[in-house]
Structures are given as structure tokens and as C-alpha cells.
Symmetry: D2
Amino acid sequence: MSGGCPYFEKKLFKSKLHLNEEEADDSQKGINEASKGGIIYGDYLQLDKVVTAQVLQSELKGNKIHDEHLFIVTHQAYELWFKQILWELDSVREIFISGHVRDERNMLKVNTRIHRIVMIFRLLVDQFSVLETMTALDFYDFREYLSPASGFQSLQFRLLENKIGVPDNLRVPYNRRHYRDNFKGHESEMLLSSEKEPCLLKLVEKWLERTPGLEGNGFNFWKKLEANIFEGLCLEKKKIVKMPDSEEKEEMMEELTKQKELFTSLFDIKRHEHLLSKGERRISYKALQGALMIYFYREEPRFQVPFQLLSNLMDIDTLMTKWRYNHVCMVHRMIGSKAGTGGSSGYHYLRSTVSDRYKVFVDLFNLATFLIPRHWVPKLDPNEHTFLFTAEYCDSSYCSSEDSD
Amino acid sequence: MSGGCPYFEKKLFKSKLHLNEEEADDSQKGINEASKGGIIYGDYLQLDKVVTAQVLQSELKGNKIHDEHLFIVTHQAYELWFKQILWELDSVREIFISGHVRDERNMLKVNTRIHRIVMIFRLLVDQFSVLETMTALDFYDFREYLSPASGFQSLQFRLLENKIGVPDNLRVPYNRRHYRDNFKGHESEMLLSSEKEPCLLKLVEKWLERTPGLEGNGFNFWKKLEANIFEGLCLEKKKIVKMPDSEEKEEMMEELTKQKELFTSLFDIKRHEHLLSKGERRISYKALQGALMIYFYREEPRFQVPFQLLSNLMDIDTLMTKWRYNHVCMVHRMIGSKAGTGGSSGYHYLRSTVSDRYKVFVDLFNLATFLIPRHWVPKLDPNEHTFLFTAEYCDSSYCSSEDSD
Amino acid sequence: MSGGCPYFEKKLFKSKLHLNEEEADDSQKGINEASKGGIIYGDYLQLDKVVTAQVLQSELKGNKIHDEHLFIVTHQAYELWFKQILWELDSVREIFISGHVRDERNMLKVNTRIHRIVMIFRLLVDQFSVLETMTALDFYDFREYLSPASGFQSLQFRLLENKIGVPDNLRVPYNRRHYRDNFKGHESEMLLSSEKEPCLLKLVEKWLERTPGLEGNGFNFWKKLEANIFEGLCLEKKKIVKMPDSEEKEEMMEELTKQKELFTSLFDIKRHEHLLSKGERRISYKALQGALMIYFYREEPRFQVPFQLLSNLMDIDTLMTKWRYNHVCMVHRMIGSKAGTGGSSGYHYLRSTVSDRYKVFVDLFNLATFLIPRHWVPKLDPNEHTFLFTAEYCDSSYCSSEDSD
Amino acid sequence: MSGGCPYFEKKLFKSKLHLNEEEADDSQKGINEASKGGIIYGDYLQLDKVVTAQVLQSELKGNKIHDEHLFIVTHQAYELWFKQILWELDSVREIFISGHVRDERNMLKVNTRIHRIVMIFRLLVDQFSVLETMTALDFYDFREYLSPASGFQSLQFRLLENKIGVPDNLRVPYNRRHYRDNFKGHESEMLLSSEKEPCLLKLVEKWLERTPGLEGNGFNFWKKLEANIFEGLCLEKKKIVKMPDSEEKEEMMEELTKQKELFTSLFDIKRHEHLLSKGERRISYKALQGALMIYFYREEPRFQVPFQLLSNLMDIDTLMTKWRYNHVCMVHRMIGSKAGTGGSSGYHYLRSTVSDRYKVFVDLFNLATFLIPRHWVPKLDPNEHTFLFTAEYCDSSYCSSEDSD
């Protein structure tokens, strides 16, 4: 903004534009006030494109159906917001990819943009209430004209899934076809390339692996945690053993055993690899440790914003899944649950995508299984462990971040 | 839909289109499955126009600011929905203008579409939460580039106000300029013409004037109502007079007097004309009577949907005013309350539009002042007054309504 | 309201109460203005009970956890709203049970109250966003103190399910126990009795069976519909047969066959009985016919509000299912997906209730499968079929309805 | 949680309670499974109080009106949530009062709780949509029975206003009476005491005054900022002077002058004191500086969460004002705009409270007037100014914070 002219900063609602000197002459011509220099609202927003893009197929086919307009506008609004989500997502991925995330000044930006995606998804979930003012009967009147257009062909939604991190092998196939078969040429290539680029999940994974405090020769969180947990369980066992025999005692002992198994599994890297291979876990063992560390020390200055980030990532997952579910509900209402003539049912396909298979950050949810009492969490000594309140800086990358943004 | 092919009705999610016979040949060419015949999603929604219309002024000026994209998309989403509101509004106005509303089969349609506008406005009010993820500081970084573009230049919003019925003479001027001065040529003409066409308020007024039961030689609701009210007040007075003297008695008498004045004013057509001239009432005396009649007999079969319609009209008013207020709040946050350099403050202007001057159906709200006990409402005898459960039909217009729709 | 005193009607914000004569003396004592006569806000709302009912178990156990307060208040808010839903539900059921629904003046009331339930559920779905400000870690800190309290023990929620019409035999058992085992004594009896009373589904079913126009000796909708559909399919077949041989033709013929099967099943009462026995349909064959008749003739004056009612019933189903799904999402975040120690997983149980088994009005959704082109719908002649615009009245029951309300 | 028994942590949905040894005997008695040991849902939530607190005045007066139940439940739900807001507010105030906020580990807690208040207010704003299902006519039927109960008597709402920081002298009087006159005895004292305790505004003010970097002998943000701004303005002036004479040039010069005045006022402490005395500013000059510093350096690690906090405080203000406005809209619909008989109009009173007088953190909004180009912001050198990425710790207070919480 080096060339910015600060004393025009309040001019938003004024009718003149700040022009640089070369352009100034043109602005003097006696044209209508509204357009004298600068850009006007409708041109800025390219409304000639946006609000003229509603062409009813039913009208083209000579049978104009009023409600088709709502159908078009709703879907366009969805696509507009998908565009915005992709914009935020790409910018966040860029910060991670370029390594700028190492300068912790960028954490606010990352977190704010992820939170914005959350707010957009919240709106998109609510937006169904508008389309739901159309009944199945209204829809029936024009749905034949739309064929074969279908939401399955939304390029942006597929890009969004890929860039967040829905893995190809966990997708539910529809009519035995690969999702990419719905797209041709350039679009298909964009999808392929989005599958190959680092998705948000993978970038967050790398970032979590770098969580300070995990290093074996430093704080060594994981070792300390393991020790504390098993010591704790052991103490519990001693208490139970001393109890007089009873049904209660038996049950407690049984549960203790289960707890022990649970935590044994947590510290078993082989089991982690196994779950990874089945898609039940999605991030590396090291990243899992980082996430748990952030959970337990979330109040430490350096972990406050990272903790918010993890919460926001779960929000995105939850909202995407709510969006899918709302979509299912609407489809049920619009076309019923039966399969279309020939081919499987859109309803049942969509329903199958409302599943943990499509929850990208499922590990962040499932960590709730491994919570422990606060006094089992390894203690920190602020004098010794300054890393928790001293942020990392790398000023050069910071500046280039600004440029690249 | 006479040429419709019903057995393709479930084809929405299928990849083939029903083609009429002449077109059938072309469809046999071996092109990609996704596009074989028919229209595909992205083309149907004209996404090449909609999601490519985001050009950042800051980027053009060599200083790309990330958040400008959100600013653009949010405003485009608003405009998309304004387009949809206008679509519904025009269709409803058309039903009223053409007289199709006399066929009461059209009431469902009218009511449904007005309700849809309500649902859209509800969404638009919520939509601010997304733009509010942008801070004043983020906005500052690109707002100079937008000049002189401004929401005051939203053609569709002004059309919408005019078509609902915001009267020119009650508008708050901004910077001493007429709102239409922000528009040129074609747009200015569209606005002028929208001011001249019958607005929703005027059409509803005409419709209310025809409320069955108002006729002097029929049920004569208004005369009966007047008689009942003053008889009721008289009885109350008698009761009070009999009470022993007390502060309580005095107060009750005082209030009775005020009630009497209030209702005297209701039945004073001169006073109505006076309030009309000041803009404090907006509909004719006859229409006011019709609205009150619908209020009091809302459970009668013929008045159930009309009553819903009146409620929905109030909802639109309320939501538009909430939208305005949310807008004010956002502007306060974005640019503060001070006037821009030179010119009055956008904040204070917007604030002044959150006013009953902009409530189109203000009479429907204010009728709440004239409610009475149920037993004062003139009695109906179903055997005599069949008009309340026998709907009006005019089959010829019904059919033409279908065509025109 | 016969004893009502109308000229005090505006006294809401005034500090005096209207007292009948006997009480008047007491009111003269010189007490504080705020309490002089009448009831004050806090007493009216019994806030001494409502806002003192937040006792933290964690505090009782000597380890006060801040967030437990939110947990309590949120659940109390849910229960308050469940109470309101039951209030509306009972009143609607009463109108149906008493036969007052035959007086069509009551349809507005029924529809308005069902719509109110919709609005409450909408709020309840949104309300999760507040509880979601609590993280799994915050919850962990006090969740052990709550044992064995659990949402499974919400009496009102179970009553609500029963009164709407979730059938006992379609419930998913939790930990192999019947849902009623979570309740004892009086509560268990209330549940049992709610299972025996006519639920909303059954009452709506009876009402649908009485839809005018179904009678075999009258309009005979069902017979006419069947004839039209098969005639229509036949005509389609003839068109296809004339086409030159092609892949296209084969596919169209295949689809026609499927359509024929579909509609044959619709008119097959045996199949209906079979689906009923499996729980895939829930209403009688006659009621299904009534619903479809209302769908097709929804614009007829007598069917406008009934059509809205059917839509609102679907809304309730959809929102209950969204509520369940939001609940699942929250539980996933709070406790992960693993089973608790001993016993099955709450998460997986809850997930299994987000199912069409719990959709009470599933038939109304599935009717979307049987839509047909408008010109296949049997024609009405307004001169002949006056039943569609002449509402039914029964004045005596109407009055008693007022009393019972 | 020292006595916690971790291996029962998953018992939430189980039917047994963990009992300490003394209590264990009692638990063995053969009582119903649902109540064996521990607390059950209904008792935990004290539902015997909460869902039995709905007593209809209309029913007591012998004229039961169905919709009064909704009126009661809605207000109780509001009061429940007000209780929760007070709970969060008090805890945050306590952290500030006790000085624990100096340990920056507490910032996450403060911010999270303030954000929770935001989320609750968001819900409360939406909640009006439920009460709005009641029409003016429904309300009329029972509103006389409520007299003189009124929302003006909500103790919790007034406490909430006081504790956030609505100042007594800026309140709009209603019917010429002080707001506290609506309360008697104990409640009046609670209000008085809440006025005397430090409100959130004052606590935030003190905290802002301590913003690191403000000190005259340290970074000295304010002096540097002043110097940069006037240097910047000077450079702009030079540029303009060089332009050839034109209307454009004159306008730019005029605006520059206004900008200069604006910023001169910012650095004029006398003017600040004057605005303070008029209530147009609410926080000290030093605090204002702190807020602006946080705005400009929001991406620095130590300022990221403080910046979020300032945003959340504005959200609270905005939402309270939206709540007020929604309330006004509802009152308009329910009772119209006319004054009640005797006394001023509730509608107009409420409308007057939707004003910047009631915006507690109005300064945070108005700072948007003083934004400047990024390159005018005084530069930081991370090597020199480590205070921006090294958080303050005070371990002793941290522990006691835990206790007091």
C-alpha cells in the first residue's frame, strides 16, 4: 500500500475516486456524478454477469416453472461460497507450504481464515431452509429438464474435499463410478492435481509433528506422559485391591483392565500403523502426540491459538458433515428414498457420505478417548521450559509472507 | 408440461437426457459420458460467469489484499438473493395485478412466495456474521480502492424497496441527494418505473378493500364493530361509576376516557386521512377495516391463509428493518461513527433508515393498538354468513394464471 | 374472558393491577410500587425456582468446575423447550381426539401450533452451538461426577417421541435394555400410558382417511388416479415403440417398465400391508391416498392449510433427525467414538437413531416417489366438486373446543 | 480433582456411580437400576423445579389461554441464559480483579468465556423467532392478567447491564423513573452493589492501560505513532501542493485538512477528557492507546488473543444491541406503537435504548476512525522488542487462579 493516499481513507461513500496523476485528466469530463472516475458498485461486483446468469431450462423448453429460479439461485449462492472457502483454504495452505507458519505471527491469520470457513459453513447449513420452501411437487415440475445436471458435478465441492483432505480411497463410489468420471478435460485435471497437492490435513500433520516439547532430548512429552499414566493406573489398582470383595470391586477391576488396554494401545506404534492403514487414523504418530500435547497444555501462551486452530478444524469437519446431512434430508423430501428408474438411489448414496469416512480430522475427535486427570499431565516448570511462552520468529519469512499473500 | 415424458422423471441423477425425436440423432455421438446430451451442472448454473466474477481492485492496483475477496463474494451473494426476492415479488405482484388473486386457489401460491421472501431475508440477516469475520483493519487495507463504489448504488435493493412500497417522500436523503441520483441512464429509468408501478403495499391495499363482510348492505362489519365497542365501553363505565370513591376508581375512569378517545379516533375517517397525509398511516380506511376483519375472524376458513399472509408481510418489514440494523452495526465496526472527511457519516445515514418511516406495512403493526375482547367482536352465524367458508372461484382466470406464471 | 376489563388492556407496563371489587381493598395498602397489587415479573416466572436450580455436582464433590454450569443450563433450556413442545403437541392431539378438527376453523390453530413446534426445534438445533463452546477437556474435568445421569433418562424427550409416534418396536435398544428401563415408578407409567394414547401419527392418519374426495361413490380419486396413470404409461409406451431401434430406445423402454412396476406397487394394497408390517410404511392405505390427494390438489381452498400441515409435519421429522445428528456430532467431540469401559458406545448408539426408523412421517417423504405430471392428475370441475372450496363447519363442537382449549 | 478416579471416566452413560469407600455399603441395596447410586438426570437438573414452574395467570383467573405457556417458557429460557451469562461474566471479572490476568496463561480462559457469552447472545437473538409465532391477538387474550409484571423487572438483565458497564447516567429513564425503582429490598441492593463493583468495561480499561509497549521509557508507541502520522500527512501535503490547480486538488487539500484535524484531536488529551465527560468516550486515554496498539500489532504473538478479546467485546455490544432491537420489533408487533393508556409507550422507550448510549465498548468501534496505512505504524525490531513474543508468567497466581475458579 506504499502508494496509498491515506487522507482519502474515509471516501468509501463519496462519489470521487483518488486517481493517480496520469489518470486525473480523464476524470474531469462532465459525466454523471455516479460514474465520475473510479468504479461503481455494479461494475465492481460484475453484476452484469452474476445477476444475469439465471436461465431457466423449463423456460427454454417452453414450460417456464417459477420455482426453478430459486433452484438456480440457491446453487449459485452455494458455489459462490465454495469459491470463498477455496480462497481461504488456498491461502492457509500456502502459508503452511511456504513455511511461513514457522513465524508464529502468522498463526492469527491462519486461525482467522479457518474460522471464517467455519462461519461460511454455518451459513451454508442454514441456507437449506430457503431451498426447503420449495416442495417436492414444485421440484417435480421442472426436474426432468435438468438432466443430467447434478450436484455430483460440482467441481468446487470436490476440490474443496480434496484440499481439506478427503482421501480418494475412502470415498463412497456412486453407481460404481469414480467421482472424477463426472468431470472431463480441464476439470478432471484440476481434480487430479488437487489430489496430489498437499491437503490441509497433511499440512496440519507436518505442523503438529513440529510441536515444541515432543523432542526426545528435550521435554520429551510422550515418554513422560506414558510413565505418568501407567503409574496412575497402578496406584488405582492398589486402591481397588484393598477394597473388601464385592460386585462393585469386581466391576472396578474390570474397568481398570480396560483402561489399561486402552492406554497400552495409545503407546503402541504398531497399532497406530495398523489403524492408519485401515483409515481409522489419518495422521502420523508424531502428529498425534503433538495434538495431545496442545490439548493438555492449551493454556500455555504458545498453545492458545494452536488449540483454537484444532477446535476450528473440528468445526469444519462437523459442519461439512452437517451440511451433508442437511442435504440428505432435503433430497429425501424432494425425491423420496427409492432409487430412480435404473441406477441406485441418490438418497442412499448421499446418506452413506454422512460418515466418519468423510471426517478428515477424525483423530482430533477421537483423542477425546484418551483424556486423563489433570494431575497425570506431566508438569512444566516455567523457568526451565521457556519454549511454552516464547514464540518463534523468523522475520525474513514474515516479510515474504506479506508479499505472497 | 404437456410434452413431458413422465417416465424419465427420476432421471435427475442419471447421465442421459430425454431428448425429443428431432434432437435424438445428435445425442448418439460418442462424447464423454458427463456431457452426453443434456446440460451439465456448471453450464446450467453458468458458473463460468458466477465464479469468475471476483476481481480484486486491490490486486489491479498492485496491492492484493486477501480479504477483498470476501467483501466481493458477500456482496454478490446479497445481490443474488435480492434477485430471487425480486423474482418472487414480481410474480406475486403479477397475480394481484392480473386479478388472479380473486381466484382463491392462488392464495397458497401468494402466501408461499411471500413466505419464501421471509426465509431469504432471515438468511440475509444471518449472512452478516460471515462478513463480520473481517475486521476494521482488514477492511481499511483495501477500502480506498473501492471508491466511489458503495452499497447506495445497489439497483436491486432500491427496486426491492420500491416494489414493496417504500415511498419516495419518506426516504431519508443522503448528503442532500435524491437516492435516484446515484444511478444513471437505464438504471435510473428502471427505478422511476418501479416507483410508478403498483407496489406490493398498494396491491395488498386493494385486496384488503375487497375483504368479504365489509359491505354496508351485507354483514357490515365496521358498523357492527363500532356499535359493540362503544356499548362495551359504556358498560365498563357503569361498573366503575358504581365503585366507592378511591384512587383506584379515579385511575380506572381516567383510563376509560383514554380508551374511548382511542376508539373514537379509530372510527374517525377524517383523522385517518390526516394520518395518511403525514405518512403515519399508509393504507386506505377501507383496507384498514379489511385487515382488522381478517384479524378478528382469522380462524374462519376463508381468512386463515389471508391472516398468514398479513403475518408474513409484517415479517418482511421486520426482517428488512433488522437487515438495515445489522448493516448499521457492521458499518459502525468497519468505519466508526465519525463522518468521512467531507460529507455526512454513512453510519448516521444508515441509522436513520432503521425507522418506522421505512416500515411499509406499519398499519398492520399498529392495529395491535385496537384489539378488543373476543366477546366484543361482532358475532357470525355460519348459516347466515356462508361467505366465510365458501371460497371464491373463477376458473377461467385460474387457467390463465397458470399460463402467465 | 367474560369478566375481562377491556380498558385495562394496555396496562402491561403499568404498575397497577386490575382487581375485582372484593380484592380492591387490599390493594390500597401503602406497599412498594413494584408490588402494589398484581404479580411481578420474577414471581410470575417463578425465577426463585428456575434460576436457583443450578447445583454443580463438581462443587458438591469439592472440586468446582466452571463449565459444569453451562452443561446444566443448556440441558435445562432443552427441557424447558421440550415442555413447551409437549404443551403444543398435547393441545393439537386434543383437538384431533375430540373431533374438533372436523370444524375446519380449527385447522389454523392446529397448523400454527405444529409450526411453532417446528420453530422450537429449529432453535434447539442451533442451541448446540452454545454447548460446543465447551471442549472435550473441559467436559472431562467434571463428567465423572455426573454418573449415572444421562440424557437417556430424559422423560420429556421420550414422551415427546411417543406422542409424535416413534413406535416401540422400531427403537434401537441401548445396551440391550428397553428404553423404559431407565425410568422408574411414576415416570415409567407415564411413558407406558403415552405409548397407549393415540399419537400424532395415528391421529393424522385418521384425519387423512377422511379427506373429502376419496369416497368410492363420490369423486373417487384413487380409481381415477389409477386409470390416468396407466393410461399415461400406455401412451408413453406407444411413443417409444414407434422409435427406431437404438440404445436410447432400449433404455427408455427399460425405464418405462420400472415406472410401471413402481406404480403397480402403489395400487397394490397387499404390498402396502407388507410394507406396513415391516415398518417401512406407517399409515393406512386410505390415509396414504388422502395425503396424495392433498398433495395433488393443494391449491384448492380446503386443501391449502392441510397441505401446509403435511409440510410442517415433515419439518418436525427432519428437525428431530437433525437434532439427533447434531447431538451425535457433539458426543463424538466430547467423548470420542470408542465404547466406554464396559458397555457399548454412546456415540454409536446415538448414531443408529439418526435413521429413517425414527422418521415418524416417513410416508409423507416417500410419496415424492409417486409424483406424476400435472395433466395426469384427475380433473376437477368446480361446479360439480364444490367440496373443495366449501369448508366443513360444526358450530357446537367449535364452541366446546374453545372451552377445552 | 485429586480424589478423582480416572478409570471411571467413561462411565457417563453407565448405570453405576463410583462411590468412595464409606458410601459403598449403601450402594449395594437392591434398588432400581436407574437410581442405584449416583444421581439421575432429572434430579441433577432439578427438573422438579424447572419444568413445574409454568403457572398460567390466565388459568388462575379462570380463563386459560393456551399461548401464555409459550410466553412463560420463553421468558424463563431467557432468564436461564442470563444466569449463564452472569456466571461467565463474574468468572472473567474475578480473573481480572484478582490480577490473575497478569499471568497470560489465563488469556485463553478469559477469551473463551467472553466468546461463550457471544454465542449465548447469538442464540438469544434467534430465540425471538419462537415467541414471534404468537400473534398480537393471541397475546391480547392474556396480557391483562400479567399486569404489572414486565420485563423491566428482570433483575438479571439489569445486573448484566451493570456488570458489563452500562453507566447509570446514560440510561434512558422510563416513565421518569429510575430503573432501580422497579426493584425492592434485596434486589435493589444487589443492583446498587453491582453498580459499585468494577464492571467489565473498567477492568478491561485497567488491563489495556498495562499494554506492553506504551511506556514512555520503553517502546513509547504513542509518541512514535504521533510522529509518524504527522510526518505522513506532511508528505501527502507536499504531493498535493505540486499538483496543477484543479477542483480535484482543492478537494484533496480540504480533506487533508480534515484528516489533520481528526488526528490532532486523537493526540489531544484535553479533548479526550471532554468526550469522556460527555459519555462519548468511556475509557481512559491510556487504555485507548493500548487498544490501538493491540489493533496495529495484532499479529504479534502476545497480542493475538488480546486482539480476539477486543473483537469479542465488540460482538457482545453488537449482539446486546441487536437483542434490544429485536425486542423492539416484537413489542411493536405485539402492542403497536401507541402509548398504553396513561404512561408513555413501551415501544418508544425500548427503541430509545437501541442507541450508542448503551454500547459499552463504543470506543473500540470508534477507533476504526483512526486507522492508518500499515507503513505509518511504528516499526518493531524483533531482536530489540522481545516483549511482543515473550509472554508474562506469574506462576504463583496461576495456581491460586485455579483454586479460585
